[in-house]
């Protein structure tokens, strides 16, 4: 292992500080569309419908989680994984310690600017397709710490967020509802989503996925 001396620690400190200051400056820019990476040609390709249906069916029923709990919301999040709620029936009970194996990044708690660098790095390490769930008032907007000097005004200033679960903290039921909404979003994240919506009518009852035995 490389021994880190005082000079290189100083360099580490200054590079971390620069990274945080860049994040803060970038957070003041207007938010971009999280779906802008989708290709226009891909959206028009009709041959993708069946493939999309199979892929989405697989993705939404076997979500691998990568969770981070910077604050108290993580306890409600973990309560949702107790036997009482039995999330295994939905297929999201598997936690991955590495972001490289995960599909969904759950941020349950207050994110400070100093932690934001680490979270952004974890997000960048996740393979596509990936989704982000912001759980609790602090992750959504900074909550009561919004005006603070050290807290991010919402995780969406660091990375694109798919589902916001409001509450302070949200109950496990709210988390379940949010994840069901995410499953709906995954199902809709099709290259031909207009046709699929016309076929499957998920807006009426999004709990009924064509997966059969859940």
């Amino acid at each position: 292992m490389e021994v880190v001396g005082p000079e290189s620690i100083k360099q580490l400190d200054s590079s971390e500080g620069q990274e945080i200051n860049t994040l803060i400056e970038r957070s003041r820019l207007p938010l971009t569309d999280p779906d802008q990476w989708l290709d226009e040609d891909l959206k028009r390709n009709t041959a993708m419908i069946a493939t999309d249906a199979v892929l989405n069916w697989g993705r939404l029923n076997s979500i691998y989680m990568h969770a981070t709990g910077p604050a108290c919301c993580i306890f409600e999040f973990l309560s949702a994984f107790t036997a009482r709620f039995d999330v295994a029936r939905y297929g999201w009970e598997i936690f991955r310690p590495s972001p490289r194996q995960a599909d969904v990044f759950v941020i349950a708690g207050t994110v400070t600017w100093k932690m934001a660098v680490q979270l952004r790095r974890l997000y960048d390490q996740m393979p596509e397709p990936k989704w982000v769930v912001a759980m609790g008032a602090c992750a959504i907007s900074g909550g009561t710490f919004r005006e603070s000097y050290s807290v991010t005004p919402g995780v969406n200033r660091i990375m694109p967020v798919d589902v916001y679960i409001p509450g302070c903290p949200p109950r496990p039921e709210a988390y379940l509802y949010g994840m069901l909404a995410l499953q709906e979003k995954i199902w809709k994240s099709s290259s031909k989503k207009q046709i699929l919506e016309g076929t499957y009518k998920f807006k009426q009852n999004f709990r009924q996925f064509p997966s059969g035995n859940r």
């Binding site: 400190d13 200054s14 620069q18 100093k114």
Partner: protein, 146 residues
């Protein structure tokens, strides 16, 4: 139960050891000059009968006119405690002698006070920000911040 020492008992001993030094008493606390804090602390740690071998807490208060750095000292041997304070009146260049040479545990607490209140501890081996990041402007626990 830890007994809080009466300030008179301590002040007389400090005054005997540091003749001519400016030592005051304010309520339950002994107040000394900021540049001799480390010497007084070394004395309090080693003086027989006192032996404050444990720095319980190190914090600072902003009174706008001056900064106050507070040391809560405890003796695990004699099971008694006392409060030591020091005041810096120069707001832009507040300096206090570091007590890391006396208690190693003061390291992180002095860094925190430096980070959030902007008081420099002379003689500290690694005085840099601990909670906030490198390049942060200002010291957010000062009352005139923002």
């Amino acid at each position: 139960m830890t007994t809080a020492l009466k300030t008179e008992q301590v002040v007389s001993q400090i005054a005997a050891a540091f003749t001519g030094a400016d030592i005051k008493v304010d309520g339950p606390a002994v107040i000394v000059a900021p540049d001799m804090v480390n010497k007084v602390c070394a004395f309090l740690k080693s003086a027989p009968g006192l032996e404050f071998d444990y720095l319980h807490n190190l914090t600072s208060v902003d009174f706008m006119d001056y900064f106050e750095v507070v040391y809560h000292l405890t003796s695990l041997k004699h099971n008694h405690s006392m409060v030591l304070k020091t005041r810096c009146f120069d707001r832009n260049n507040a300096e206090v002698a570091s007590v890391t040479g006396v208690w190693r545990g003061a390291d992180f607490q002095e860094r925190e006070v430096y980070d959030l209140m902007g008081i420099k501890f002379t003689g500290h081996p690694n005085l840099k920000r601990i909670l906030l990041w490198d390049g942060f402007l200002g010291h957010p626990l000062r009352r005139d911040y923002l």
